[in-house]
Symmetry: D2
Subunit: 462 residues, 4 copies
């Protein structure tokens, strides 16, 4: 039989390890893994030149803000950046206006995405205490998980946060129970807003408005307390929880213990908590502002231990696009600047460099950025693995390529706010990305014609 | 030498165990423990008839509400009930109007108490986030610990709760830090107000206003969540914490684990969580209403395990006097009735009966109601032990005496609301109470002339 | 390209899970896994009829006793039984005369095996305290592990046990250190011989010589004590240890704890400790005698927990062939009969039946009987997996086939002593076995022409 | 009433803490603890000059070797040394010829002791696998515990070790079961004899016969392995075990874990494992030889952690008297010299010095050398406490006294082999020792007239 595509002469990553072999793709699916000379004929053929062929990345945490803030990013620019970074499925979190707290809103968002996306996409539903009645229905709309925040909608932004927050413990308790019934994971931005608000007030009163003051305004305890509460309520309510963007080893330790006690808790961290420290806040001010904030070298180093011991389940980019002018406000008042920066295209290169330096294994890396999120969100084995029958979502990586991070080359609309890694010299990069068998990126260039190629991905059981 | 008093022919409880011996008292202090024939001569002499002589009880948790609500209880009636129940030191918690959040307020309360008390007394200071600046000074006023609540002052009762609450996590965090600096224990009413308020609203909306609905309105999670947060912040801030009136084994388990991790956490429970269940709420409605509520038989039984394994540090009465008419409102609407009931005079008899039934040892009982609170509050060895040099605060108990609880015989002004144990047949009761060598109770009758005999007790280091 | 063999229409077991696919085999290796229509052409072709294609079994514990006792079993009959039972690699343990304690002896044994074997084979080296100087050299001879016993050679059988035992703690300590230096696993028959010898003496003296007395003579403590010592010395000496044929949950618990503490300890159990109880000793006397003995239902049930929680690493058959007349001696005196019975051909059917009954998953089964021993002994990925480049050692199983165990159909020379499962009705059996691409068993019939097809397998790094 | 003796102006150690008080003694018992002016009149009176009055020491591990080897020590000289060191009860271990394995032998030893002893004494019974039938009867003879060794009687010394050893695992298992039935503690010399014998052989063969070679001949593993086995069998058999003279933190850790699992295991160590290191073996050769050997500084320091955390139950002297000429043999061949040295009179001064240096508290010291052994052996509260009704076994200590250890001043017959601490400058020493109210030592001088004052002490329940 002749197939659509064969990829030869690669080291194929499978769950049993790496194979010197090739693969065949037909109708977007992997149909053969075989030694090169046993592959079927392909209409097209790619010579991998001995490079590594990995399952495409799944980014469990991105914010494209489309619709709503398309001047910052669109589904097109965001997914082009994804493709550039070897990401073949993005999971969009529900900050947008309004948040996707109803079936209708979810469907609208899907429509917007489908008209632009280069890579596949999935959605988080919004779970707000004010819209509890929507939760069962939203759970049926193909979302991979729910997301919530533990604070009141900021004044004047009520619409933007409608159906997205659980503002007090009663709301949280009710919300956890409601999500538990759906069997879905509930992802939470785990910071204690009361403590932070009081800190900011103190710092403002003291005239402390510089970059590093941002870190002081959100001390480790604000994350630790929040994680402690989430784990306790997850246990009481039987809710599966994703602790988003964890930045402290103390919080990771709490998650580790809760897991050992049978709580269904999943820990996500981000590259910036592993590779950066709060020195960046001094250097770059608002351009290094994210929530939770960058931590000290000591905490950052200690967080790696939870990569090593298996406590961390996944690494998300928390890709957060903003305009430079929005960020620059923070030079006068760090608290006035928005938190977050782009990063979807650097997750894989940063981790490949860490693999090169021996900080983690290639296996563990693939688990953290592809296989584990696929399994947690019910997308496996359609996504997250190179197996017969899986989608041919693939990334070919050159482990030996040296390159220098240059924000200008990013496909993100917010490329100019992507400064924290700018100028870093890294070893290892993706050289080709395929989504369901179609090459969408080659040698760093994303095929704009692939817009609308991306499709909605839904969990197996939902 | 001739001493003021000798007590002969008793089994003296010492920390090493029971001794067949007697004691001598001079100027209110124990000056000798000796075999009867080696005791010095006494101006007075008591023949103990072979009964057990224990250290006088210390009640770590009472509410006399004087000044403020003297129609419910006064320091005179409250301490007379204490004396009747073998309690020689009471620790008054700061619900009163206004709460003792300043040095001046503390001094006023001491004055009121000193003019009436039959037994010795100590005070908790109020620790409120709105009066943080007072905390260092209040700590110097001879208080044994601080007390706080985690909710906003109820509407219209702002004055009553001034300086007594930490209404949100920022306030709690600031308050924990402030108390930590004083080295004092911070006692907390550990219930999550948000969860409870929402539950009550739901129950009210559903027309559920009966006794048992009170228990439903404050499910175990409301205590567990609160204890979880307290322990986490105690660890972060280095605050010593007293978990008041713990009613669930799940919360006790959290405390046990935190202790093992080095958190300075002290667990108090009350007789009603050990001897009563939520069936009483059905039987007695508002007269069985207390916060946290009575629990199921299963939870109550499981709580005993933490008595056995040493996790529980002390048993307080949480003596809460109210008028019958205040309580009776609750027959129509359980949520409208005040929570609490008297019990200072029954703590010892209930526990003696449990000793008789083999549920705990006499040693463990003395530790829970006398030695441990004395040590935790810095009163030891002045209080809490029969040792040379200690105050002659003593209670002679008859382990074999059968009696029937009859609320009419209580000295509490609120005796008519003391119904939960009414009619119970118990074995074991105090037959004589001495405070600093003076007999204040004999055969159930308290000497009213002993009013003003009670004195303020202050911690060794404070 | 045309390949030697394709197998189509099967559910292929891979480490990522089951695939509806087929495989291609060339020169004895797997060269493709692909959907049926993407497979290359094959000179031969097998239609799997939708059945499960698993990696061939690896039996980590067999005794063929050839050379030495060929009347009981030969390498030919033993490996034919293996092929019948879906086993494609057998690991021969060193009881034979003399044991393989030197390079020369190992080579002789390899030669004997190579002239007969139908399936692949590997050897354990003998590690005896009296031949410590041979250990480094034997480690270089391609063995998969060492084996030892903790007792003196039985009187009169010195030659048979030469170089095979560590008879006292000094010998054990020295032996563990010597094996640790080779990096090889040391497998140990974990029973305390002193305790057992004393028990047998007592039982004999009391005239207790029946089947169940065998179990009494080797109480759980004799295994637990031995395992305790092994684990402690493994930790001290850094030796990797295989706890052979563990029969008690208490010993498994010790192994679990040691693993958690970082000891390199591997637990093997056998089907008979999972599926049989000491009632069989009463029923069948010497025909149910094995060492350690069959245990009570309670222990057997509890042992399953360590299958479930991952503590058990592998299941070996401990295939022990004897002649009926040797066994029958035991009807008069159970202690006089040899211990052990054949079983290499029933390991897989018994476990398939357990999979059918829901006692373990198919995945866990494959791990226990194939992947895990391959990995532990350094044979992976040549053996133990269906991957591109691995040996085409395969077993096709029919999960729905009902059959009745009939010892007469066994290929083992000792078939007449295989009585413990005789007559059992099982569901699930192997229907085809391939060794390096050659079909050696089909529908229960082993191809005798395949003698000499079996080859020595050696670890990757040895 | 007039009593025999009053001791005034002291700090009395009671279980609740230290009291500024005095005590009264009548007929050998404590009859009063009282402030000085409330004490009864005494026929004699002692002014303690403000010093500390502690419960007399209990030495749980001494070897006086009388009868048998009276040239080394007699019960007279041994107990005079005890009195000098503040020890009021000695527990004699059964190395003597023959060991006290029968009721008759026990009685003979009691008779010998009673004719000489200055302080009270208790006996360990011998528990040998060859005399199991005697164990129940010996348990009735007032012994405090059993003792055993895990090796064959040395060749030619069979009589000396009759009834004292459990030479293999069967013997140990039988012996543990036999002792378990008596409810008595079984004390064990925890060293693996096999490992040691092999090591000595190797060292001898290599011509290594110096002091430090003794330590090499008994590596930590020889203790650790033995303790591991003991704890495992203690659990299996329900035997209470005393791990004698533990010298390694690894063994202590095993005991700690076993205790947490409910094993009745009691850990004894000796001053020399806390205050000395193997450097002494280099310095003093055979005079620093003891079994187990002195360890490295690292192990010794780590052992203190188990003093701190409560794992160590008691500190015994393992007083081992020998003649200098016996010891001197060891200068040529360290293995030829006997193991042990005297020390009963230095246990208290060494520990008082450690209290002075802040390494442990006075409370913990009294627990380790008096209260804990009294409780474990069933002698409490007759011994081990200053309480009304207890024996007036007392030691007055001067915490401020500086003195230099001078072996010539020892009362031990073996004083010339007491070299390990010779010349040390210590702070803190006993200045008066009383046994049942009689002063037997004052200012370092023991009253020889007190010979025969010592009496047998037997456990409460035995
Ligand atoms: Zn977030
Ligand atoms: Zn985010
Ligand atoms: Zn309260
Ligand atoms: Zn209260
Ligand atoms: Zn075996
Ligand atoms: Zn075997
Ligand atoms: Zn010893
Ligand atoms: Zn000894």
């Amino acid at each position: 039989m002749t197939v659509d595509l064969v990829i030869k002469h690669v080291k194929v990553y499978t769950e049993g390890g790496l194979l010197a072999a090739g693969i065949a793709v037909q109708a977007g699916k992997i149909v053969a893994i075989a030694s090169d000379d046993c592959l079927p004929e392909g209409i097209s053929s790619i010579d991998g030149q001995g490079r590594y062929l990995l399952p495409g990345g799944i980014d469990p945490h991105v914010h494209f803000r489309d619709p709503g803030k398309t001047e910052r990013e669109t589904f097109l620019t965001g997914t082009m950046a994804a493709a550039a970074g070897g990401v073949t499925t993005v999971c969009e979190h529900p900050i947008s206006s309004p948040p996707p707290y109803s079936a209708e809103l979810i469907r609208n968002r899907i429509k917007v995405a489908a008209e632009q996306a280069v890579v596949d996409f999935a959605f988080f539903g919004a779970a707000g205490a004010d819209k509890l009645e929507h939760i069962p229905q939203v759970a049926q709309e193909g979302i991979v998980a729910f997301k919530t925040f533990f604070h009141e909608p900021p004044e004047g932004r009520e619409e933007e946060f409608a159906g997205l927050t659980m503002a007090n413990d009663a709301a949280i308790y009710a919300g956890f129970q409601a999500v538990a019934k759906t069997g879905k994971i509930l992802a939470i931005h785990a910071e204690n807003n009361d403590i932070i608000a009081a800190r900011i007030k103190e710092l403002r009163a003291a005239g402390k408005l510089k970059g590093r003051d941002h870190a002081l305004s959100r001390p480790p305890v604000s994350e630790i307390e929040s994680v402690g509460k989430i784990l306790l309520l997850a246990r009481e309510c039987g809710t599966k929880v994703q602790l988003c963007h964890i930045s402290t080893p103390q919080a990771a330790e709490l998650v580790k213990q809760a897991k050992a006690d049978g709580v269904k808790a999943y820990l996500e961290t981000c590259p910036h908590y592993l590779f950066l420290t709060d020195d960046k806040l001094e250097e770059l001010g608002p351009f290094a502002k994210c929530n939770p904030p960058l931590r000290s070298r000591e905490l950052s180093d200690a967080l790696w231990r939870y990569i090593d011991d298996g406590t961390v389940d996944m690494i998300g980019s928390d890709h957060g696009p903003f305009l430079p002018e929005e960020k620059e406000i923070g030079f006068r008042d760090i608290f006035a600047a928005p938190a977050g920066f782009p990063g979807i295209d650097l997750r894989l290169p940063l981790l490949l460099d860490a693999v090169h330096k021996g900080r983690l294994s290639l296996d563990r890396m693939v688990e953290l950025i592809s296989t584990a999120p696929a399994k947690l969100y019910g997308l496996y084995p359609q996504k997250g693995a190179i197996r017969i029958g899986s989608d041919a979502d693939l990334v070919l990586v050159d482990l030996a390529a040296d390159f220098i991070v240059d924000r200008r080359q990013s496909y993100s609309k917010s490329r100019d706010t992507g400064r924290v890694y700018d100028g870093w010299k890294l070893k290892g990069r993706p050289v080709m990305t395929l989504v369901r068998g179609r090459v969408v990126m080659e040698e760093g260039r994303v095929d704009e014609q692939a817009a609308r190629w991306g499709r909605l991905v839904t969990p197996r059981n939902g």
